[in-house]
């Protein structure tokens, strides 16, 4: 399954879809978290929003898993190009709604206020931009939480531990530690 039919919806406004300057955004980096897709401000909103989708409780949450790092990087891949603009528009819409309702930025709201806003987006009409963004946010958060760590998320395999994937006693094993998913995304099937 891809992102699904909802991913086909494309904005008519192309201004936010400027292609990335750096063609190698998925290269591994150690600890360096300079965002590639997001401004520092947008990045803070994404960190806050993904942490509400998967909050830390007795188990690690989205921030622990570097979910925002995943989203920032994966939106640079060519396959996700049509999604990038939608996602950035959604982040801006979330921020606008936060300012209108609470006169504060989304990242500075209380968790209860953030949840209230996200619920508003979730419960918006099915074909609305708000509902579309909520679905993208959820799906990309889960990809970042439960995808291979080489894409930048699922740090320390905390997501897999939460759902019991690739743990002792199961047989569905993940790729080895030195696996490079982003490289395969670019090159698998290319045999010269």
């Amino acid at each position: 399954m891809l992102l699904g039919p909802v991913a086909c919806k494309r904005s008519s406004d192309d201004s936010s879809k400027a292609p990335p300057k750096d063609p190698g955004p998925l290269a591994r980096e150690s600890g360096g978290k300079t965002p590639r897709t997001f401004s520092a401000f947008e990045y803070a909103v994404v960190v806050a929003a993904t942490e509400r989708i998967l909050p830390r409780d007795e188990d690690p949450g989205a921030t622990d898993a570097d979910v925002a790092v995943y989203i920032d990087r994966i939106l640079q891949t060519p396959e996700m190009e049509p999604i990038r603009g939608d996602f950035l528009e959604g982040v801006a819409a979330l921020e606008r709604r936060a300012q209108r309702m609470f006169q504060k930025g989304f990242a500075t709201l209380t968790p209860a206020q953030q949840d209230e806003l996200l619920t508003l987006f979730k419960d918006s009409p099915g074909k609305s931009g708000e509902a579309h963004f909520f679905e993208l946010l959820t799906v990309l958060s889960l990809e970042g939480f439960l995808g291979d760590p080489s894409y930048g998320g699922n740090k320390g395999r905390v997501g897999w531990r939460l759902v019991g994937f690739d743990t002792v006693g199961t047989v569905a094993m993940a790729p080895p530690d030195d696996y490079d998913g982003p490289k395969c995304l670019r090159e698998c099937g290319v045999h010269k």
């Binding site: 039919p5 086909c8 998967l54 909520f134 959820t138 995808g147 047989v171 995304l185």
Partner: protein
């Protein structure tokens, strides 16, 4: 630019195209296989869900190559990835689960056995089970099929055992056996296109659990990429060209197929002439190719003077329920729940025909039992739900923790999808893919009797699940269709007015054009059709080799 002529050009390398390539190559004919996707090697098949299942590794992206789909002719089309199978050498056989059932004799004469069905265009096949059976045998041997034949009321005749013994199964299979026996039903080992022992130079299954929807890094899954295609290339007569998207099949002045025009991996348009052209791109995509191949002689599309290309589209009727066992509650008294074995491999076919005529039509189907797929992102997006009923935050994490504590057994229903005038595929001139080719547009209109039969089968399957005393049984679907199983769009028959292909899968209207994917099947049967497509392709290849050789002896 036109390339040198070859004997045969085959479009597609999956269950239909590969047997033709192998048999024609073995017979000494020069064959070119055009495959739109890449040629993956075993090392490309990696347990990376993002790469494998969530991007365009197998399926095209919906904004690059959409299918249009709608529930009936009054609705608007939506862009979708539905009804694509894998785009790569081996096609859908690469990422299949490999449930390698045969059809039953009754599937070949459904209309005459069960009578006319108002609202359905159901017909008999022009061949019998007995005519196809030797080619089922051959397909099982060539591909590598494991299984164990056991007697039951609807068992199809077999000439001998499966080429390979059944795969090891999870202990829950024994529990299903007991539950079925208690109800007087027959729990059948499911034949798999997965080899259980070393076979023809291939390594056996490693029981890795990431099987269906993935390619097999062991080469143990019997996709044509693992067996027939390498053997075809080894004949020295077959060239496989990956990354080549067929645009049209061209005809000459006499109305014979002349060449295939395709876009090569560099985006350059090429023309491959051939004496015989074989189309095998899936029932949806083959119909699209023929409908896009218009000429002054075939203004409605190639071989479509009858107007039947794309009509009578059938998928497989789908239903599903899931039984959840909570390990924290059940593992003490049922330690086998923690067994890591990935395969259940149990089927029920006691209701292949209904026990009576209470529903008006007596075709039932097959129940297949399996563990739910272990892909974690797929599982979690399901747990999160969608729309207003979606959850996030603590509720989502609680569901993920409950999932970790669960083993989830499910069954799938494969039931008759009756052909109707309202289920068809056309092309939409106004919507083009990234090659600039008009895309396939699918209209699905289900016959109500399908849904009755599917629900009946779901009820029976739940009776089995409940006997296993799970913590929860959840009905997930009774009205679905499996769109990777597709048939009917170039149905075969003896009458050129009511069918596209003759009994040898040759177009009535074009004497050197064959279609060998699921398109030929006027009814889909009530099992996954992969093995049937491969067997039929071996049958067609046998006929084609003989007719080409006798034609050559006759001087032309």
């Amino acid at each position: 630019m036109s390339l040198p002529e070859v004997d045969i050009c085959i479009i597609g390398s999956g269950a239909g195209g590969a047997p033709m390539a192998l048999e024609l190559g073995r017979a000494g004919f020069k064959v070119v296989v055009l495959e739109k996707g890449p040629h993956y090697r075993p090392q490309d098949f990696i347990h990376d869900e993002i790469l494998n299942s969530r991007r365009n590794f197998f399926m095209p992206l919906p904004w690059e190559e959409p299918h249009l789909i709608r529930r009936n002719a009054k609705e608007r089309y939506e862009r979708s990835t539905a009804a694509w199978t894998a785009n790569c050498v081996g096609g859908g056989t690469v990422h299949m689960s490999g449930f390698f059932y045969r059809l039953k004799p009754v599937d070949f004469r459904l209309r005459s056995t069960l009578g006319a069905v108002p609202g359905s265009t159901v017909v008999d096949w022009p061949i019998s089970y007995e005519e196809l059976a030797p080619f089922y045998d051959k397909a099982e041997v060539e591909l590598g099929v494991s299984g164990q034949a056991v007697p039951h009321p609807f068992a199809e005749p077999r000439s001998g055992p499966y080429p390979l013994p059944a795969l090891d199964v999870h202990p829950v299979a024994g529990e299903i056996d007991k539950a079925c026996a208690a109800m007087g039903w027959h729990s059948l080992p499911t034949a798999r296109g997965i080899i259980s022992r070393p076979y023809k130079g291939r390594a056996p299954c490693a029981y890795c659990a990431l099987c269906g929807s993935y390619g097999c890094e062991m080469g143990a899954k019997s996709g044509t990429n693992a067996n027939l295609i390498p053997a075809a290339i080894a004949t020295g007569n077959v060239q496989v060209r990956p990354g080549c998207m067929a645009r049209t099949v061209e005809v000459d002045r006499k109305g014979r197929a002349r060449s295939v025009v395709y876009v090569d991996p560099d985006g350059v348009t090429q023309e491959q002439p051939a004496k015989v052209i074989v189309v095998s791109c899936t029932a949806v995509e083959s119909a699209r190719l023929l409908l896009n191949s218009t000429s002054s002689r075939f203004s409605q599309g190639l071989a479509n003077g009858s107007g039947l290309v794309g009509k009578n589209l059938i998928f497989s009727s789908f239903g599903e329920s899931q039984a959840t066992f909570r390990l924290s509650k059940q593992a003490d008294k049922r330690p086998w729940l923690k067994d890591p074995g990935p395969f259940v491999n149990r089927s029920i076919q006691d209701f292949y025909l209904m026990p009576d005529t209470r529903f008006g039509f007596r075709k039932g189907g097959t129940l297949g039992f399996m563990w739910t797929h272990p892909n974690p992102i797929h599982a979690a997006t399901g747990l999160a739900g969608s729309g207003a009923s979606a959850v996030f935050g603590k509720e989502l994490k609680d569901r993920m923790r409950a999932y970790r504590d669960s083993r989830i057994l499910q069954f799938e229903v494969y039931a008759e999808y009756l052909p109707t005038p309202g289920s068809y595929v056309g092309v939409e001139q106004g919507v083009k893919d990234h090659f600039g080719i008009p895309v396939a547009a699918i209209t699905v209109e289900r016959h109500p009797l399908d849904l009755v039969a599917t629900r009946f089968l779901v009820d029976r399957g739940e009776e089995v699940l409940l006997r296993l005393e799970p913590d929860e049984v959840k009905r997930t679907n009774t009205t679905g269709e499996t769109t990777i199983l597709q048939h009917g769009t170039c149905r075969f028959g003896d009458d050129a007015a009511t069918s596209v292909l003759d009994k040898h899968c040759r177009a009535h209207e074009v004497p050197n054009l064959y279609v060998v994917d699921g398109s030929f099947m006027p009814t889909g049967g009530s099992v996954p059709s992969t093995l049937t497509i491969a067997a039929n392709s071996f049958r067609v290849a046998d006929h084609l080799v003989r007719s080409l050789k006798s034609g050559a002896r006759a001087g032309g």
